[in-house]
Amino acid sequence: MSVTVTPDQLDGYAGQIRANAGSALQTMQEYRNAHCVDYTGLTGLLHLLRVPLGVMSDWGSQLMTAAADKLWLTADNLAGTAQSYRDLDLAAADELWRTVFDAPADHRETDADSPATGYTRGAVITLAVPAPRSDSVEMVNNVYSALELPNRIATWVLGWNPLEKGVPWAIGEFGQLYRIGEAWNELEHAFIAIGTDLTTGMDTLSVHWDSSESGDSGASAAFDHHIRESWVPAMNACGQLCDLFQQLCEQMAAAFQEMVHELLFILNFYGRKIKAAAKVLTELTSLSFKAVWNIKKLVSALYHAVVDLYELTVLKIEMFVECAETLVAAGVALRNHIRGDFEVMQSS
C-alpha cells in the first residue's frame, strides 16, 4: 500500500475552492441583487411579472448561498485532510527514528517546503452590466399618436373614452425584460466558469494526490469524484437554469413587443374608420342617428379589440408565471442537492 500526496497541494486547491466560494459567488450575488430584480419600467401589464421575477431571483440567491456554504465546507475538509496527512507523516517518522536510531524525544522530522503551484484565485468573474434600454418609448409615442384623433372624436361624440389613459399606461418597458435576461445570461457563464475553474484545479491536484492503493479506491478518488461528478455538473446545471431564465425573459419581452405592434395596428385600423365616420358628421345637412351609430359601433369594436389584446397578453403572462414556477422548482431541487447531498464526500 502506498499513498502519493503533497499536503501543500491539497491546501493550494482548498484555497482555490475558497476563492470561488468567497469572491466569485459573492460577486455573482451582488450582481444578481443589482440586475435580476431591477424592475425599472416594469409597469402596466408588465407589473404582473415582478412577483415571478422576484421568485426567480430569490432562487438564485439561495442557490449561491448554498453553493458558497458547501464550497467552504469542501475546502475546509480538504485542508483538514492535508493536516491529517501531515500528522500521520510525523507520527510515522517518529516511530521510524525511535526504533532504528533511538532519536531524542523532542526530535521531529520536517519535510522540505513544497509550496503549492498551479492553482488559481478562483474563477475570473467579469459580469457585464446590461445596457439600459428604452424599447417601448418610441412605441408608446406611436400609440399616443395613433390614439389622438379617435380619442378626441370618441370623447366628443360619446362624452367619455375608456381607452384614453388606459392604453398607454398598460405598456411597460419590455426592454427591461431583455436586460434582466442578459443578467441571467451573465450568471450562466459565471456558474460555468466556476465549474471549469474547479475542474482545472482538480486536474492540478490529481498529479500530487493518489491514494488509490490505500483501499476503497482511496480518499483521492472519492474527492476527485466529488468535484468532477457532483460539483462541476451542479455548477453546469445552475448555468443551464440561468440560461432558461434568460430565454423565458426574452420570449416574454418578444411576446409583449408583438402585443404592442398589434395594438398599434388596431389603433390605426379603427382610427382611420372612426375618422372617416366623423368626417361624415361635418358634411351632413341633417344630423342623423345612423352617423352617430356608426361612430359608436366603431369605437366599441376598437375597445373590444384592445380588451381582447390585453386578455391575450395576460394569458401569456400567466404562462410565464407557470413556466417560471417550473424552473424555480427545478432550481429548488438543485439547491437541495447542493445543500444536502454531499455528506458522503465530506467525510473523506
Binding site: W156, A234, F265, L284, L287, L312
Partner: protein
Amino acid sequence: MDTTRSLPDVEGLLRAARQKVTEFVAAPSGLDDFRSRVMEQADQLARLQSPGTDVGTEVPASVREVFDRIAAGELPRGAVLDADSEDPGARAAHEWLTPRLRILARAVDLVDAGMSESKAVAAATDEYREQRTGL
C-alpha cells in the same frame, strides 16, 4: 425538505424545465390570427345597418356654413371637434353639435336594448334634459 435527490434526478428536472420553456415559446399566443379576426369583425360591422328608420335633426344654416368652410378647406375639420376653437363659427357649431351627439350616442344604447329609434331619441333627449336641469 427533500435532500436526497441525486444529480440524475436534477438532470431530469432540468429536462422538464427546458421542455416547459419550449412549450412557452411554441404555445399559440392568439396573436397569430389576431389581425384577420379584427378585419373580419370590422367587415361584419360594415355589413350591419343601424336598425329602423333614420332619425335626423336638420342642421341649422349657421352650422352648415361652417361645414361648407371645412369642405372648402378654409377651416380644419378638427376646429369643430374642439371646444376651444378660435373661430367663433366653429365654436358655435361645436356647441350646437355636442349635446345632440351625446343624445344620439345614448339613443344607440337604447336601440341596442330593443327600443325603436324615434322612441330612443326621445327618451335620450328627456334623459339629457333631466341631467342638465337636475329635474
